[in-house]
C-alpha cells in the first residue's frame, strides 16, 4: 500500500511539472441540460467553443455533467489536467466553481450568470432585463389583444429578471397591456420540460395572450410548438431560435454567452485574463433581439424603427430598465 502511495505521489509531481510547460488549454463545462439544448448551452457551444476551435485550431475540452455531483468532478478533473481557463456555464455551477477555484488558485475560471468572488474567477453577467425590454416592446407592437404571456423556467431571481424586463417593455408600448407570467418549476428540471411548457403556454393563450415569451431553456421548445399550434407568436431566448418554428417566431432575445466565452478565451490566450465581474449589456452587444431570414417578414420597418429608437434610448440612459435582482422585486 505504501509503495503504491509513493508511486502515486511521484505521478503527482510529474504531472504538475507537465502542467506548467503546457500551452493554452481552454475548457468548458456545460450545465446538465447538455450542449445541444437549442438555447443557453448551445449558444456557448456554437458561438464559443465551436467558433474558437475553427478559428484557432486549439482544442477545447468539453464536459457535460449528467448530474449535480459531476459538475464539481468535471471542473476538478479539468483543472487537475492543467486546463485553463475553464468556463462554467450557468448559475448552477456557482458552488462547484467556488470550491474548485479555491483548490486550484493557478487555474483561471469563468462563470456565466453568477458571481464568484475569487481572484482567479471571472464572473460574466448579462443585462437580460434590457434585452427582454426590447422583445417585450416588440410583443406589445404585434399584440392585437393587448395580452401577452411569459413562461419562465425555474423560479429564481435570474428568470424573474427576464420577466420584469419583458413586462416593462410591453407596458412601455401599451400601458394597459396585461402580462401573464408562469414559472415551470422550482428545480433545474424546469429548464427541460417542454410538455409542461406547452401546457403553460396553452393556458396563457386561452386567456387571450397572442405573444408568448419563453425564458426557459429546453422547456421553450414546447412553448414555441404550442404557439405554432394555436397560431400565435412566440419569442425565443438565449440562442437565436427564430429557425425553430419559422412564421410564428416573432424574434429571439439573444444572450451572447458564446461570444462572451469566446472573448474570455481570446483574452486569456493573449495573457489578458480579467478576473472580477464583467457585465455584458445592450451597449456592449451582450444582449439583443434577433432578426434573420426566418422572421424578417414579421417585423415591419415601422416596428424596427421604433424598437431601434428604444434600444438607442436604453443605451443612452434615457430609458431606465429596472433590474429585478437589484431590489428582488419588480416595482419600477
Amino acid at each position: 500500500m505504501k509503495a503504491l502511495l509513493t508511486l502515486a505521489a511521484a505521478t503527482v509531481i510529474g504531472m504538475s511539472g507537465a502542467a506548467v510547460a503546457a500551452d493554452f488549454k481552454p475548457a468548458v463545462v456545460y450545465d446538465t441540460a447538455g450542449k445541444f439544448d437549442k438555447s443557453f448551452n448551445e449558444a456557448v457551444f456554437r458561438n464559443g467553443a465551436e467558433k474558437f476551435v475553427t478559428e484557432t485550431g486549439i482544442r477545447v475540452r468539453e464536459f457535460e455533467p449528467q448530474n449535480e455531483e459531476q459538475r464539481e468532478q468535471g471542473l476538478r478533473t479539468l483543472a487537475q489536467r492543467g486546463q485553463s481557463p475553464i468556463v462554467a456555464v450557468g448559475f448552477n455551477m456557482a458552488s462547484a466553481v467556488t470550491k474548485v477555484a479555491a483548490e486550484f488558485p493557478d487555474v483561471q475560471f469563468a462563470i456565466i450568470d453568477s458571481v464568484v468572488d475569487l481572484p482567479n474567477v471571472q464572473s460574466m453577467l448579462f443585462a437580460e432585463h434590457e434585452g427582454s425590454f426590447l422583445v417585450g416592446a416588440l410583443a406589445a407592437m404585434v399584440s392585437e389583444t393587448d395580452k401577452v404571456g411569459f413562461v419562465g423556467g425555474m423560479d429564481i431571481p435570474l428568470i424573474s429578471k427576464f420577466a420584469c424586463g419583458y413586462e416593462q417593455g410591453v407596458k412601455y408600448v401599451t400601458e394597459n397591456a396585461e402580462v401573464f407570467q408562469n414559472m415551470t418549476g422550482s428545480t433545474p428540471a424546469a429548464f427541460g420540460d417542454p410538455a409542461r411548457g406547452s401546457e403553460l403556454a396553452k393556458s396563457q393563450i386561452a386567456k387571450g395572450a397572442d405573444v408568448v415569451f419563453a425564458a426557459a431553456g429546453g422547456t421553450g421548445i414546447g412553448v414555441y410548438q404550442a404557439a405554432k399550434d394555436e397560431g400565435v407568436y412566440a419569442i425565443g431566448v438565449d440562442s437565436n431560435q427564430n429557425y425553430l418554428q419559422p412564421g410564428t417566431m416573432l424574434t429571439s432575445m439573444v444572450k451572447k454567452v458564446g461570444v462572451a466565452t469566446y472573448q474570455t478565451w481570446k483574452d486569456a490566450e493573449a495573457g489578458n485574463f480579467q478576473p472580477g465581474i464583467k457585465v455584458f449589456d445592450l451597449a456592449s452587444g451582450g444582449v439583443d433581439y434577433a432578426i434573420d431570414q426566418y422572421n424578417e417578414a414579421l417585423i415591419t420597418d415601422e416596428m424596427k424603427t421604433k424598437v431601434e429608437a428604444i434600444k438607442a434610448d436604453i443605451i443612452a440612459g434615457k430609458i431606465k430598465v429596472h433590474d429585478y435582482t437589484a431590489t428582488m422585486s419588480c416595482t419600477y
Binding site: 502511495l5 505521478t11 468539453e62 449528467q66 448530474n67 468532478q73 487537475q80 448559475f91 448552477n92 456557482a94
Partner: protein
C-alpha cells in the same frame, strides 16, 4: 447431470469472472462501433480509475457509496423482500445527516457530532423504509410497489425542503448552505498528508471505513445472529418460518429498518464527506445501482465489496472515457447495463458451460495424473 462435486470457487469466482469477461467483450464491440480502439478504451479506463491517487480516490469514493446501497438491498433480499427504495432512503438519510451538520456543525466537537450524524442518517433512512415495511407486514401492500413510490415522494419532499426551507437567502441553485468545516468527515488525502504521504485531492473520505465496518456487521447479523436466522428463514420459506414460531410481521419490519438504515448511511459519504451541503437529487441513481451491486455480489458482503469496486471502476473509468474521447456520457450506463445483463440476467447461460469446462479439465488432469502414476 454430473456425479462429481463442483467446488464452490468455480461458481462463486469463476462464473462471475467469465460473465464480466463476456460483458467486456461485448463492450469492446460497442467501442469499435464508436471508432474507439477497445484496447485504448480499457487503458484509458484503467488509468483513469487506478492510474493516480486522484483516480483511485474517486473510484473508492464511488465504491463506498455502492457498498452502502448494495448492502441495503442485500439485507432485504435475504428476507426475499425487494427493496428498490434505496434511492429515496438514501436521499432522506441525507436530510438527517445534513440537519445534524447544519444545526450542530461548529458547535460541538467533531467526535461528538459524527456519532450523531451516523445515527441521524441511519434513522432517517430507516424511517423512510418503515412505512413500506409496515404496509407490507400489516396490509400486504407489496414492498416493490411501495418503495418505488416512496422514491418519488422522497424526491418531491426533498425538493420542497431545499427550495422552501434549506436554500440560503440570495442563492439561486437548489442546495442547502455549506456545513461548518468542523462537521466535515476528514478526507483520506488530508490524513495521508499529515502522515507525510503526498496524495492528490480526491473525495475519498473516512466513510469507507464505516462502509467496511457495516459489511462485517451485515455478515455477522445475517449469518451469526438469531435475527439473521429469522430473516433467512422468512426469505426461504415464509410458511415454514411462521410454523417454526417466527413472527413474520416483526421480521419484515426489522429487515426493512436495517435495509433503510444502511441506505441512509450513503449520505455520510456523499453529503458529510464530500459535498458538505444537501444538493438536489444527490443520490443520482446510486440507490438503483445498489440493486445491481447486490445481485452481482450474491448478497454476500464480500461479493458486494468486490462488485462495488467494479462499479466504482466503471463509474470513474467511464467518466474518464468521456473526457478523453468526448463520447456520450451515457456510455457508462451502457457498460453497466452489459455487466448487469451478463452477471444478473444471463447468469445461468454461463454457469453450466463453466462448470462443465471445469469438470472436463479436472478429468483430463485426473487422467494424466493416473497415467503418470
Amino acid at each position: 447431470m454430473s456425479q462429481q462435486r463442483i467446488p464452490a470457487w468455480v461458481t462463486v469466482i469463476g462464473v462471475p469472472l467469465v460473465n464480466i469477461l463476456l460483458a467486456a467483450i461485448v463492450s469492446g464491440f460497442v467501442f469499435m462501433y464508436l471508432n474507439i480502439s477497445p484496447i485504448d478504451a480499457v487503458k484509458t479506463m484503467a488509468y483513469g480509475a487506478f492510474g493516480s491517487s486522484y483516480g483511485w480516490g474517486y473510484t473508492l469514493y464511488y465504491t463506498t457509496s455502492f457498498i452502502f446501497t448494495g448492502l441495503a438491498v442485500a439485507v432485504a433480499f435475504h428476507a426475499s423482500l425487494f427493496n428498490i427504495g434505496g434511492e429515496g432512503q438514501a436521499y432522506v438519510g441525507a436530510l438527517g445527516v445534513g440537519l445534524v451538520c447544519l444545526l450542530l456543525g461548529g458547535k460541538i466537537p467533531f467526535l461528538l457530532l459524527l456519532p450523531l450524524s451516523i445515527i441521524a442518517g441511519g434513522l432517517f433512512g430507516a424511517l423512510w423504509a418503515f412505512i413500506p415495511a409496515w404496509l407490507q407486514a400489516t396490509r400486504g401492500s407489496h414492498v416493490v410497489i411501495t418503495t418505488i413510490m416512496f422514491n418519488f415522494i422522497a424526491a418531491s419532499f426533498m425538493a420542497y425542503l431545499l427550495v422552501e426551507v434549506l436554500k440560503p437567502e440570495g442563492s439561486m441553485a437548489v442546495e442547502s448552505a455549506v456545513f461548518h468545516e468542523a462537521s466535515w468527515i476528514p478526507k483520506i488525502w488530508e490524513l495521508a498528508g499529515t502522515m507525510g504521504i503526498k496524495m492528490q485531492r480526491s473525495p475519498l473520505n473516512l466513510s469507507i471505513i464505516w462502509a467496511l465496518i457495516c459489511s462485517v456487521f451485515v455478515y455477522f447479523f445475517i449469518w451469526r445472529t438469531k435475527w439473521g436466522y429469522e430473516i433467512r428463514s422468512l426469505g426461504q420459506n415464509a410458511s415454514a418460518a411462521e410454523y417454526a414460531g417466527i413472527n413474520l410481521n416483526k421480521t419484515i419490519i426489522m429487515t426493512m429498518l436495517i435495509s433503510g438504515m444502511l441506505a441512509g448511511f450513503f449520505a455520510l459519504n456523499v453529503v458529510q464527506g464530500e459535498a458538505h451541503q444537501i444538493k438536489l437529487s444527490l443520490v443520482n441513481g446510486m440507490g438503483f445501482t445498489g440493486i445491481a451491486v447486490a445481485l452481482m455480489g450474491r448478497n454476500h458482503p464480500i461479493g458486494i465489496v468486490l462488485a462495488s469496486l467494479l462499479f466504482g471502476f466503471l463509474y470513474q473509468g467511464g467518466g474518464e472515457l468521456q473526457f478523453e474521447y468526448g463520447v456520450d456520457p451515457r456510455i457508462i450506463v451502457v457498460l453497466q447495463g452489459l455487466v448487469i445483463l451478463f452477471s444478473g440476467a444471463l447468469e445461468h447461460m454461463t454457469k453450466h458451460p463453466v462448470e462443465n469446462a471445469y469438470l472436463k479439465l479436472s478429468q483430463l488432469v485426473g487422467k494424466q495424473e493416473a497415467k503418470g502414476a
